[in-house]
């Protein structure tokens, strides 16, 4: 008899697990659809908007036959559907076609730029995530005090400073004034990992400013909710020391929503670094896209944008997985 009672609970969690799994699968399929749509948009943007590709490369004075020849050589005289299918089928196999500007395959350029951007984002994240979480949790625990207000207001005001403003101020202050940091993000060739990180510190600060407020606010809200919860009351009334209450009972629940925010910001950061990368003369994916756009290098532009999209989707998916793995209500689906 009791067996059937427990069976009830099992059925319920089983149903929940299947639905979580199907949610993740749906999520994955949706990401693929998103990428597909993005690729079409990117392709349309790259191939259609400029009109005649050969003409836009050779200029208005070029000979009609030369333009036609170039179009034939590039394959841009074929139907758009054929062109798209040709492009995308190569793309998924890692062949990102050939750069107009460099007359060589796009992939190595995009790969190197992406790696650089990831390095910069990683440095910024390693600084801002622990800082933001610690700040938010501290603010929540000292709710209503001066500490809370200072953290909250600092975070808010830092968030609203655009990165080109904070970047320039930082360069003026630390690069030119105090000479503490180099003014460029690119370390000299042949320097070690530490030097590389040292060069990336100053450029990462504007990003830290930008994100600290977000992360701290999420962490603060989550922590306050957990502190006010009934299960925290249970833990305190058990006679647990405060330290254990916070570590074991509060933080685990408080920081779950923060993970999602952090991840969505990560996706944004990979593609949104154009200003920083330009300001600090850094060969990242942002500046690659910018340069390609200015130079009418459509294959490079398309590849760059699509790779950013890919990273964004991947990071968001990873965040969903992390959330699922950390939330016991959903965890069963991953086993």
């Amino acid at each position: 008899m009791k067996l059937s009672a427990r069976g009830g609970a099992d059925d319920r969690s089983l149903a929940q697990e299947t639905s979580t799994l199907s949610f993740l699968i749906r999520r994955l399929l949706l990401s693929l659809v998103t990428l597909g749509v993005l690729s079409i948009l990117v392709f349309a943007g790259g191939q259609l908007l400029p009109g005649d590709v050969g003409r836009s490369i050779l200029g208005p004075l070029a000979d009609e036959r030369a333009v036609a020849a170039l179009n034939h050589q590039l394959g841009t005289d074929r139907s758009l559907t054929v062109q798209y299918l040709d492009w995308i089928s190569h793309f998924v196999r890692g062949d990102m076609s050939t750069s107009y500007a460099f007359r060589s395959p796009v992939a190595p350029f995009v790969g190197a730029a992406l790696a650089n951007s990831l390095k910069l984002a990683a440095v910024a994240f390693v600084i801002v995530v622990p800082l933001g979480i610690a700040g938010g949790v501290l603010a929540a625990m000292k709710r209503g005090t001066a500490t809370d207000r200072i953290i909250t207001i600092t975070g808010l005001s830092a968030t609203v400073i655009p990165e080109f403003v904070s970047g320039i101020i930082l360069i003026l202050l630390f690069g030119i004034g105090l000479r503490l940091f180099p003014m460029t993000a690119t370390a000299p060739p042949g320097s070690g990992v530490l030097t590389g990180i040292y060069y990336l510190l100053l450029p990462s600060f504007p990003l830290v400013f930008l994100l600290f407020g977000y992360i701290a606010r999420m962490a603060r809200a989550g922590t306050i909710e957990a502190l006010d919860s009934d299960y925290t009351r249970t833990a305190v009334l058990k006679g647990l020391p405060w330290r254990l209450v916070i570590w074991r009972h509060v933080l685990r629940n408080a920081l779950l929503p923060t993970i999602t925010v952090v991840a969505s910001q990560a996706g944004y950061m990979i593609g949104g670094l154009v200003v920083i990368e330009t300001l600090f003369r850094y060969q990242g994916i942002g500046s690659l896209i910018y340069t390609a756009a200015r130079g009418h290098d459509f294959p490079m532009l398309e590849a760059g944008v699509l790779v950013v999209g890919l990273v964004y989707v991947a990071v968001t998916l990873a965040a969903d997985l992390a959330y699922t793995a950390l939330n016991p209500r959903l965890r069963g689906a991953l086993r």
């Binding site: 008899m1 009791k2 059937s4 009672a5 427990r6 069976g7 009830g8 609970a9 099992d10 059925d11 319920r12 969690s13 149903a15 919860s229 009934d230 299960y231 009351r233 249970t234 833990a235 305190v236 009334l237 058990k238 006679g239 647990l240 020391p241 254990l244 074991r248 009972h249 685990r252 629940n253 950390l326 939330n327 016991p328 209500r329």
Partner: protein
């Protein structure tokens, strides 16, 4: 002065507690004095806002951030709680003081396994972790959880409400405490589960000799569990007495009023309206001029308004905060006792006929039969009470009748009003929900909510609309000024009146009431039940009244239907269902309802209801049935067979072998 050998488990002396709300201090507890001896059970009752939960939190030294102690002492096991250091306080909580909470689902950490949370209680008291695990398993077994090793590894969301509350109780009892506070520990649990949890608390308390402070609004539960009772009103203890004496002859008008609000055995809405307590409880912001209950008291004299009465001892362990406590029993009725004359339920064609109604969710191997083979009728002006535990299909049935859900093909639902066309039929069936908060649009004023209902459901315009609006709101005894208010400015009872008015806007013929009073205090419940009765008499409307409170059902219903795992196990006239013969499940439900005199024999059910996803074969109730007769129950589903007078029971047993109400039950009224 010699100290007693065994100190009191709890001693509260002159305790004042206040909350700071929008910059203003509000008194929540005033000069509270209370004593619970070692091993004693003490019940604290009162309606919402009277300060009983605050008392619990003050005794745990866990007041909300805006609360503070204005004066007085709390002594636990002889130690001054508010004089303790943080370390001393922790030690007290680890070893001598504990609490069981109202909502076990929220009291446990969702991210940590149940076992780890329970084991913590031992490790914090100094046990090694392997040892703590072993003791946690033993403790789970102690609170009658089978296969505790498996439950240890479960997360809270994987366990049922009853299991969760047992786990919390295990946590509270893990170390032999001097005092355990139980704050409405069974609110929200099904009747049979509630009875089981109360049994468990009672047994364990005797074994461990723990003193208990039991906080609740359900007077019957308090009566069953406690030796002494204190009644709180507006933060003041107004009466205190041994349980039996308090319930037999209350000595404060408030207590008298509270007890009169209860729908008791032998009361029937057609014969007698319930009494209520007029007015509203005090808010705590005002300074006390005279007696705190003076504004609502039927016995009030001039002296009561100028001079606050003290809590005076009456002898025999009784005390009352009333100058005229000897007259308390003569408190005049507030509401006229005679109901508006009811036209008896019609003999003509029934309003609603439901035949072999079924509802299947999902398909193929995943299908769940939420309802199967349900047949019943509702006559005009009749109230059918629907009883069942969570997961029995009550809400699904309501949703189908309202047209929110489609019944399986082959079901027949014939509604008399159907002849007037589809939308008309939907207007003719309305619903009153359990929680008026979520049923009313928060951003609209009451007047707009009702006007909209009148326009949409009644098709009214202009002058007629205005007139009807006033008639409607006055019909539910809602003062005209409330039409300008937004729902959040109203109390729970007033909100429910608005919800009822909304349902009646289109002159409905059937109103589905889904636990309309279970979130309300007893005095408000009484007023709402009276209102529903009056409206029925005036408009000849029919009710399908869903509730888990059998005394409420008995008061309001002409006929009762009992639902279990989507099957109708019993249906019949209210009196026959209560008197018996009744289905073994009904028998268990009836016995699970605590009665103040405590003479009823408990029929215990084992385990929680099986999952609706895999209902038992044969009779759906056979896995828990105390009258199980043999293999036939496991293999063959009995038919709903007629037992005379329109009383049907789905059981293999003959009427003579089924349970009946005991004779002394009728004398209890």
């Amino acid at each position: 002065m010699s100290a007693p050998a065994v100190p009191d488990a709890l001693r509260i002396e002159n305790l004042d507690v206040m909350y700071r709300v929008r910059g203003q201090e509000r008194s929540v507890l005033r000069n509270l004095n209370l004593r619970i001896g070692a091993g004693e059970t003490y019940g604290l009752v009162g309606e919402s806002g009277c300060g009983k939960s605050t008392a619990a939190l003050a005794v745990m030294r866990y007041l909300p951030r805006n609360g503070r102690i204005g004066g007085g002492h709390v002594l636990i096991d002889g130690e001054d709680l508010y004089g303790l250091s943080q370390t001393g306080l922790r030690q007290l909580r680890q070893t001598r003081l504990s609490m069981v909470y109202q909502d076990p689902g929220r009291a446990l950490n969702p991210a940590i396994t149940v076992g780890a949370q329970l084991a913590e209680v031992f490790t914090v008291a100094g046990a090694y972790s392997a040892d703590a695990d072993k003791r946690a398993v033993a403790m789970l077994r102690h609170v009658r959880i089978t296969d505790p090793e498996r439950v240890m590894g479960r997360y809270p969301h994987q366990l049922s409400g009853g299991m969760l509350q047992r786990t919390v109780i295990a946590m509270a009892l893990a170390v032999d405490r001097k005092l355990i506070i139980l704050d409405e520990p069974t609110t929200g649990l099904d009747a049979t589960v509630e009875a089981e949890v109360l049994d468990l608390i009672d047994t364990l308390r005797r074994e461990h000799g723990t003193a208990i402070l039991f906080i609740g609004h359900n007077l019957a539960v308090i009566a069953r569990m406690c030796e002494r009772v204190g009644v709180l009103y507006g933060g003041l203890l107004v009466e205190e007495a041994p349980t039996r004496e308090l319930f037999a002859a209350p000595r404060h008008p408030y207590t008298v009023g509270l007890l009169r609000c209860l729908p008791r055995l032998g009361l029937d809405r057609k014969l007698r309206r319930l009494d209520t307590i007029p007015g509203f409880p005090p808010s705590g912001a005002v300074e006390l001029q005279g007696c705190i209950f003076a504004n609502r008291c039927g016995l009030v004299r001039d002296r009561c308004r100028t001079e606050p009465p003290a809590l005076s001892a009456l002898g025999g362990g009784r005390s009352s905060r009333c100058f005229f406590h000897e007259e308390a029993g003569d408190l005049p009725r507030v509401t006229p006792p005679d109901p508006v004359e009811h036209v008896p339920p019609g003999e003509e064609h029934p309003l609603l006929v439901v035949e072999s109604l079924g509802k299947t969710f999902g398909s193929g191997s995943h299908s769940v039969h939420a309802l199967r083979d349900i047949s019943f009728t509702i006559a005009r002006g009749e109230t059918v009470g629907l009883v069942g535990e969570s997961g029995s299909g009550k809400s699904t049935l309501a949703r189908i009748l309202l047209g929110l859900e489609r019944a399986d093909p082959g079901s027949r639902i014939a509604f008399e009003a159907n002849r007037r066309g589809g939308t008309q039929a939907r207007h003719a069936i309305q619903m009153v929900f359990q929680n008026p908060d979520s049923a009313l649009n928060r951003s609209h004023r009451v007047g707009r909510i009702l006007r909209r209902a009148l326009v949409r459901l009644g098709g009214l315009r202009g002058e007629i609309l205005r007139g009807r609006l006033l008639a409607l709101s006055r019909g539910v005894q809602l003062a005209d000024s409330y039409l300008q208010a937004k729902p959040r400015q109203l109390s729970g009872g007033l909100k429910q009146r608005v919800a009822i008015a909304r349902a009646f806007a289109g002159a409905p013929q059937l109103v589905v009431c889904d636990e309309p009073t279970s979130a309300l205090d007893v005095s408000v419940q009484a007023a709402i039940l009276n209102l529903l009765g009056d409206l029925q008499a005036a408009e000849r409307v029919s009710y399908l009244f869903i509730s888990h409170d059998l005394s409420v059902i008995r008061y309001v219903a002409d006929r009762i239907a009992v639902l279990y795992l989507g099957r109708l196990l019993e249906i019949g006239p209210a009196e026959s269902v209560f008197q018996g013969p009744h289905h073994p499940y009904t028998e268990a439900l009836l016995s699970a309802t605590p009665a103040p005199d405590g003479t009823l024999r408990r029929v215990k059910l084992s385990g929680a209801p099986p999952s609706a996803m895999s209902p038992p074969k044969g009779c759906v109730f056979h896995t828990r049935c105390p009258r199980h007769i043999g293999p036939i129950c496991d293999t063959e589903e009995p038919a709903l067979s007629e037992r005379g007078g329109g009383h049907g029971i789905r059981c293999h047993l003959g009427s003579d072998d089924l349970g009946r109400a005991q004779v002394d039950q009728s004398s209890a009224a």
